[in-house]
């Protein structure tokens, strides 16, 4: 209805506010979520509207408040647990993977855990090895979890609203380098279903499957490819769990070439899973092996001179695509 633009951070805040107005059982819990609004200011203003009883500041105790979220979710509430940096998933994996993910199954379907773990990902913020990782592959491995990994303000808002309304635990990854990214976000109450990929740019010669901030990288590479006459299709799965396999496979069948680009570590990562899905589903249509581009398999370094070479860039994706299309 409008061309209103919001930043990625504003879109997430708006989704949270709308869902908190819609359902009094929704609340936020985490470190410095109230007056501070998180270090990234994503939650600024929420405590003023909803009060400290629903925007709850905690001690620095990630496993503790995550576990409290699980128990609250099992007994009628809908918590949104804030894990400031994705790296801190290392602290809370028991609560996410052994508790939240398994309660519904272990109880034979009698208990459920409707909650969202919000956390961040993404390197190049000069934050070094313990504040820069993209660890969505860890949780995408676990049955019982859903994993959302939006790339635009529009998707972030729609996926967050779906996550809060979902009756299963959702881990929601926000690339902290995208918080200021602007995009069109309509005023109306929309949601985006999980497990539905979005074609961010249509093309015919090569499929670029990209997640989160790598979607912007892939779109930039697609522009460069267009200049040399290669038409790239950019597809964003939007959720890694569930994964929209058919859209990825159909695109690869059409283009006959595919690169998967993701900011998680390349080894045993999201790129491996998606490349396998494409190789399996589109094998007889492929003219080249499916290529993977993830973060380098090193702890994320501090120095800009080092950090910048660890993640895929427009140029590196362009070069890879050019080679794959025989234009090198």
């Amino acid at each position: 209805m409008s061309d209103r633009e919001l930043t990625f951070a504003d879109a997430i805040r708006e989704a949270l506010a709308e869902e908190m107005r819609r359902n009094p059982r929704v609340f936020i819990i985490g470190e410095d979520v109230a007056e501070a609004g998180t270090p990234f200011k994503v939650l600024s203003g929420l405590v003023e509207e909803f009060g400290k009883a629903r925007v709850i500041d905690t001690p620095i105790s990630e496993p503790g408040f995550s576990g409290i979220g699980v128990g609250a979710a099992m007994t009628g509430m809908r918590p949104v647990v804030d894990i400031m940096f994705g790296d801190f998933l290392g602290l809370v994996m028991d609560q996410i993977a052994n508790q939240a993910a398994k309660v519904h199954y272990m109880s034979g379907g009698k208990l459920s855990v409707p909650m969202v773990f919000r956390t961040t990902m993404g390197a190049t913020r000069r934050s070094a090895a313990q504040h820069s990782q993209s660890l969505h592959a860890w949780v995408s491995h676990i049955p019982g979890l859903k994993v959302a990994i939006p790339s635009t303000p529009y998707d972030a808002k729609g996926l967050m609203k779906t996550a809060i309304r979902d009756n299963s635990p959702v881990v929601f990854f926000e690339d902290k380098m995208m918080y200021k990214l602007k995009g069109v976000v309509p005023m109306d109450d929309y949601t985006i279903p999980f497990g539905v990929a979005d074609i961010k740019r249509a093309g015919n010669d090569i499929t670029l499957v990209a997640t989160s901030s790598m979607v912007q990288v892939a779109l930039g590479a697609a522009d460069l490819l267009a200049q040399i006459g290669v038409s790239a299709e950019v597809i964003d799965p939007r959720t890694t769990l569930p994964l929209d396999k058919s859209t990825l496979i159909e695109s690869a069948k059409k283009t006959s070439r595919a690169i998967v680009i993701d900011e998680g570590y390349e080894q045993y990562g999201v790129t491996a899973e998606i490349a396998s899905v494409i190789a399996d589903g589109a094998f007889y249509y492929l003219d080249a092996p499916v290529k993977r581009m993830g973060a380098m398999n090193v702890p994320v370094p501090f120095s800009p001179a080092l950090e910048d070479v660890t993640v895929p860039t427009e140029q590196s994706v362009f070069e890879m695509a050019k080679t794959l299309c025989g234009k090198a």
Binding site: V70, T75, G76, K110, P143
Partner: protein
């Protein structure tokens, strides 16, 4: 201390303890006869804790249980037949065969599930208490765990928040003296109760073999939690008659036979209660025998039901992954 507990309630507590004892003896038999898949961690010897605690709760109050959880589940209201069915992996079990001995959950009786990660449910119980407070439901939550679970960091995080926010949660520490195969004195610096006292939390120690003592203490702690006075910690000193699990037969390397014999002979929770009721001339041996006969019959019929019950259809394997 026991004046306000009438005979009917005492006999009910005896029945609950006797039921747990008979249940666990049958579980051990099923294991020895290779009729039960997997293992089980028996609660025999600790019955007064679960029964004394759960007697002080309403049906809609919450509990979280542990790997040694059969006693908690039964004391909170689970039925013997469906418990056995779950232990045998049958469709009629509380979790349709998906949980087994270590994961029995029964939300109808307020049981949010047994947890096989030691200390793993401390967050869940605390969160349930927070939820009760937010919803204004007047429910309390009880977190059962053993002495070994105090080695986990989670306790210190959630106890801190529970005390800060005056949450209606009671942490019930069953000190059965052993962290699996190691005496707790070898793993514990300082006193167990000091761990709770440091948060300014109401903390008490009770004889976990005396169901009256557990019940009356628990009543006080529940009452104050319901009134908004915050969390409490109750250390119940008790003893595990069997090994860490049913297969832990040769225990001489970590505890003496004489110690086991002493607890069974002189510290048995069923004997303590029945002897007290008889000594006070409130009842006689025939009443106790009748209760024993009734629970034995319930256990026999429950196990027969479970042995004859069908397994789940293999096609159910991927049901209930998502809600």
């Amino acid at each position: 201390m026991t004046e306000h507990i009438d005979l009917e309630q005492s006999l009910h507590m005896y029945e609950q303890m006797a039921k747990i004892r008979a249940f666990e003896e049958k579980v051990n038999e099923l294991y020895k006869n290779a009729k039960m898949p997997g293992l089980a961690h028996l609660y025999s010897g600790e019955e007064a804790v679960a029964v004394g605690v759960c007697e002080a709760l309403h049906r809609d109050d919450y509990i979280t249980s542990t790997h040694r959880g059969h006693g908690h589940c039964l004391a909170k209201g689970a039925k013997v037949d469906r418990m056995f069915a779950e232990l045998l992996g049958k469709e009629a079990g509380y979790c349709r065969g998906k949980g087994g001995s270590m994961h029995i959950a029964d939300p109808d009786s307020g049981n949010l599930g047994a947890n096989a990660i030691v200390g793993g449910s401390m967050g869940i119980a605390t969160g349930a208490a927070m939820s009760a407070k937010m919803r204004g439901s007047n429910q309390v939550a009880v977190c059962f765990f053993g002495d070994g679970a105090l080695g986990q960091g989670l306790f210190y995080e959630v106890a801190n928040m529970a005390a800060l926010w005056k949450l209606p949660v009671i942490y019930v520490c069953e000190n059965n003296l052993y962290n699996e195969y190691t005496h707790y004195s070898e793993t514990t610096a300082g006193q167990l109760i000091a761990r709770a006292q440091t948060f300014g939390m109401c903390a008490e120690i009770v004889d976990g073999q005396d169901v009256h003592a557990v019940y009356t203490t628990m009543q006080r702690l529940v009452e104050r939690a319901r009134c908004g006075e915050g969390p409490a910690f109750l250390q119940c000193d008790t003893y595990r008659y069997y090994g860490h699990h049913v297969g832990d037969i040769n225990r001489a390397y970590y505890r003496a036979k004489e110690e086991e014999t002493e607890w069974r002979a002189n510290r048995d929770p069923l004997k303590i209660l029945s002897a007290r009721l008889v000594a006070q001339k409130l009842t006689d041996a025939s009443v106790i025998e009748r209760i024993e006969a009734e629970v034995n019959a319930e256990v026999e019929s429950g196990v027969a039901f479970a042995l004859n019950a069908p397994f789940p259809d293999a096609r159910e394997v991927d049901e209930d992954v998502y809600a």
